[in-house]
């Protein structure tokens, strides 16, 4: 047990700390504020305090807890709302009211709740780490698979069926005469990646329901993506949309140093919205971490690791998990804050030189893996992180370091956002290196995908080039063919890429619908090109009822789409080919 020697913001130095370890968790002062040792100098320990240090005094006690910062893993995670240190915010609310008092404690998993445990192995079976010994129906959407914790193996001596709390033993494992109790809960140090059998490349589409992602710049299961953009360009809405609609087993939303009202908004929407495929409430497959900008800065650092640890734990059950982090810039700023207090040598813009490696130690925990233990299973963690570049200038260090790590970039464009083109993802600068990884998936669902996608991207590229000419000579001076190309590009932008998160129907677009929508526009282009060739003028094309009909495709529900589009196509063929107007 040591005592406080110095306090300077989130930096606390404690003396008499012999025997303490780097990264050991400590409790500071009478209130027991949570801190982590980040360095040792003689008998002094350098501590980063995860809670507000206001009012601490020199000489107050500092207690080493003999463990590193860990997450509790077990039934009760799904649907929970945690702060950056995995304290349950609802429990805190019940105990101390609507304002957070430092030092207040609340465990991550409820201790008194009983879970219905069904064994999957029996007495006498040999088990080892990662083996699934039973299941708990945690929510209607998530079956919690109870795994043998790392480092344990032996023969099942006894295993029980029935209702248990997370702390009651459900199984006993014997090895060399030593018996270990297994409970529904385990712990894992958050800064250490959870092991797996083997890593594979990201593959298969992570269906998001967002057309510009799924169709144009797809994200693969196990992939890593970044969404940089100035304020108000749509980072948060994009991540919220991903967390809502991504067709995964479970999503984790980490609000790191961002707004409280936004958190309130996202929480309430998850209590109302239903998953498009199962019809169940979204919160049955979601975990929230809310460490808002006014909560202690250093805990932002922890929040990201707590989140990714939970993601890996569910991955190990054989699930596909998506983790979104809003915003990794605030996380990096927490690092900078601590580094400044420690008087470390500052790197670019004051960020510590290890910022890049810390960022990649987070993103590298994404991936698709063969899980440890039996039965054989594969799981994945996909990560999407927002970046908030100062002045929307992507040359700054956090964006640049992130770009070196990720394989899909959704670059948000301020000028698109100003015009209220949402999602304001630039089709000219965004990219996905997962096009090959999802090719098989798309070919199975929509054989023409590669062709249609490439064709549409080409038109958008040509539009950008023509745009410069238009600015010099005006739109009317262009040849008819170019005018038609501009019209088509506009339709791709407005009637396909634009997608309102707030439109009841359009908020989630099934990939099949997305494919048909774009094909319809490309078909329109094909037919109208023929019209031009046979002497029709641009005016008749612009005023065609089809332009309007196509713009309304978004409103057609996912279910009716195939039928409705067939009708549209036959009308299109009639009116555009024959020139006849369809009433």
């Amino acid at each position: 047990m040591g005592k406080i020697w110095r306090v300077s913001g989130p930096l606390v130095i404690a003396d008499d700390m012999k025997g303490a370890q780097v990264y050991e968790v400590v409790e500071i002062g009478e209130e027991g504020l949570v801190g982590e040792i980040v360095g040792l100098e003689g008998t002094k320990a350098i501590i980063q305090a995860h809670e507000d240090t206001l009012g601490l005094k020199v000489g107050e006690v500092v207690r080493g807890m003999g463990r590193v910062l860990s997450a509790e893993l077990g039934p009760g995670l799904v649907g929970s709302i945690y702060d950056g240190l995995q304290k349950s915010l609802l429990t805190l609310g019940e105990n101390i009211g609507p304002f957070i008092k430092r030092g207040a404690k609340a465990s991550a998993l409820p201790r008194n709740k009983k879970w219905q445990f069904t064994p999957k192995v029996k007495a006498g079976d040999a088990v080892s780490q990662g083996d699934i010994i039973g299941t708990v129906p945690e929510t209607n959407l998530v079956e919690h698979r109870i795994m043998v914790p790392l480092g344990i193996k032996g023969k099942i001596k006894e295993i029980r069926q029935g209702d248990y709390t997370v702390e009651e033993p459900v199984a006993w494992v014997e090895y060399n005469g030593e018996v270990k109790e297994l409970t529904l809960m385990q712990e894992w140090p958050v800064r250490k990646p959870r092991p797996y059998k083997q890593r594979s490349d990201p593959s298969g589409l992570l269906t998001t329901g967002m057309r510009i992602l799924d169709y144009m710049f797809p994200l693969a299961l196990g992939g890593k993506a970044s969404i940089p953009g100035g304020f108000g360009t749509g980072k948060t809405v994009a991540l919220q949309q991903l967390a809502r609609w991504a067709q995964t087993h479970l999503n984790i939303y980490v609000g790191c140093g961002e707004r409280g009202n936004e958190m309130a908004d996202v929480l309430s929407s998850f209590r109302e919205l239903k998953d498009p495929n199962t019809g169940r409430l979204l919160q049955e497959k979601e975990i929230f971490i809310a460490n808002t900008s006014n909560m202690p800065v250093v805990a932002r650092e922890a929040s990201i690791f707590v989140g990714i640890t939970m993601a890996e734990y569910f991955r190990d059950m054989g699930y596909d998990i998506l983790l979104v982090a809003d915003s990794t810039s605030r996380w990096a700023e927490a690092m900078r804050e601590m580094s400044g207090r420690l008087e470390e040598m500052p790197g670019e813009e004051g960020f510590p030189s290890y910022m890049g490696s810390r960022l990649s130690s987070f993103y590298e925990r994404a991936g698709m893996v063969k899980c440890l233990g039996s039965p054989e299973r594969e799981g994945s963690v996909t990560v999407a992180g927002a970046v908030s570049p100062p002045g929307a200038d992507f040359s700054e260090p956090v964006t640049q370091n992130t770009l070196r790590i990720i394989d899909a970039l959704y670059a948000l464009d301020v000028s698109l956002a100003n015009k209220r083109h949402f999602p304001a993802i630039s089709w000219l600068t965004s990219y996905s290196l997962y096009v090959d990884a999802v090719k098989d998936w798309w070919n199975e669902h929509d054989p023409g995908w590669e062709h249609t996608r490439a064709g549409a991207l080409r038109i958008l590229q040509q539009e950008a080039e023509l745009e410069e000419i238009v600015r010099l000579v005006g739109p009317e001076a262009l040849p008819e063919g170019d005018k038609l190309l501009l019209l088509t590009a506009r339709m791709i932008r407005e009637d396909f890429l634009q997608q309102s998160a707030y439109n009841e129907v359009d908020t989630y677009c099934a990939p099949a619908k997305a494919g048909l929508m774009l094909k319809t526009i490309m078909k329109f282009y094909e037919l109208t090109q023929e019209m031009l060739n046979s002497g029709a003028g641009m005016e008749s094309i612009r005023s065609s009822a089809m332009v309007y009909r196509i713009s309304r495709m978004k409103d057609i529900p996912n279910e009716d789409f195939e039928q409705k589009v067939k009708e549209l196509w036959s009308e299109m063929e009639q009116s555009l080919v024959t020139g006849k107007r369809v009433p």
Binding site: S8, N261, G350
Partner: protein, 465 residues
Amino acid sequence: MDFSSLYVKEGRAISKAKGALLIAESIPGIQFNEMVDVRLGNGEVKSGQAIDISEDATIVEVFGGVSEVDLVGSTIRCKGETLKLPVSNDILGRIFNGMGEPIDGGPRLIPEDYLDINGEPMNPALREPPAEFIETGISAIDGLNALVRGQKLPIFSGSGLPHNRIVAQVIRQATVKGKEERFALVFAAIGISYDDASFFMRDLERTGALERTVAFINTASDPVIERISTPRLALTAAEYLAWKQHMHVLVILTDMTNYCEALRELSSMREEIPSRRGYPGYMYTDLATMYERAGRISGKEGSVTIMPILTMPDDDITHPIPDLTGYITEGQIVLSRNLERKGIYPPIDVFLSLSRMMKEGIGPGKTREDHNNVFMQSYAAYAEGCYLREISTIIGAEALGERDKIYLTAADEFERRFISQGESEKRTVENTLDTAWGLFSALPEEDLKLIKEDFIKKYLPKYRK
């Protein structure tokens, strides 16, 4: 503020001074961030705060600064407290300085409680999403960037632009439909000119709003260091009125640029490593801990809505002050020098402006069913018109096609009839939406792609008869 009863410790000579910082011997029992009184050799007493404490030394930041000469024979007295604001129901109608001391010559307050001016973070899981539409009577705000209770929505202005007049208009006109509730205003002047401060105070007095107002005044001639505490005092008063007295509180903070300059000054005195343009790296968090005090709490009456004003240095929205603010607040109302030059009041740049909480506050039962569609269509049409305006400056308007000319005119009309309005003109939200519909009449009907067909049939003037 009166702390005499709270004094607990006295002592220790001061060994070194550096600008605003005093390095004293270690003071046993002093708390991190505790308030202290520094009694200088000449008898003068200054306030300070312990910003770094250790067994070796105590570093005190002195409000107002000190010099080496004053050190001889000076002492530090601990107050045993971090900075607190005495509160009671009687603060309404009162005027305080940037340290929370009454400056209106009124009676002494009998405090019901002393509240830490830093507040405590609201538990995000217990927040109620803001959703009540505040009608300001200004079309560019209500129609396109609606404000709701519990939101923090700043005005990004430039020097010489009419932000004060706009905010005064908002204060005069803001109402929430069909509600008879307790409403209060908290006004903080931060380093603004005496004239600007008295402009607001006079307007409040003229309209009788002063009795429902608590004001904290730090003008340009008052101590810079008190600009750090002024907005925090205001927000503490606001929280007290909202959460203890169940009132709906609107907080006006002006000018937050002066706050940020004070923060930069302090940071450089502390010799901290600066981030962009000399502002401290923690400015985001520092501003966030204030602005996040806006909100609603589930199950509680009352709300805190914050409308800060800031002037963008050089009209540059990427400058760290507006930039970090925009990353924290729930949108921004941006004023444009261009529109101002065209004689348009209020000169609100609707492209750069944004209200992130708008969608929750509008729609059937709140404003009108067509609100969201009108909002989207207005943006699309105005954006098109402005784009064509840009092109036509090079090629001339004559070179545009017929359809394009319509949009060009529509953009001008939009500025003249929708954005522009009188300083005492209070438009209902229906009126605002109908004004937009009037402008849509000039557009080809099939171009109204962002509006539901039923709404077109219901609200487009030609079908309305």
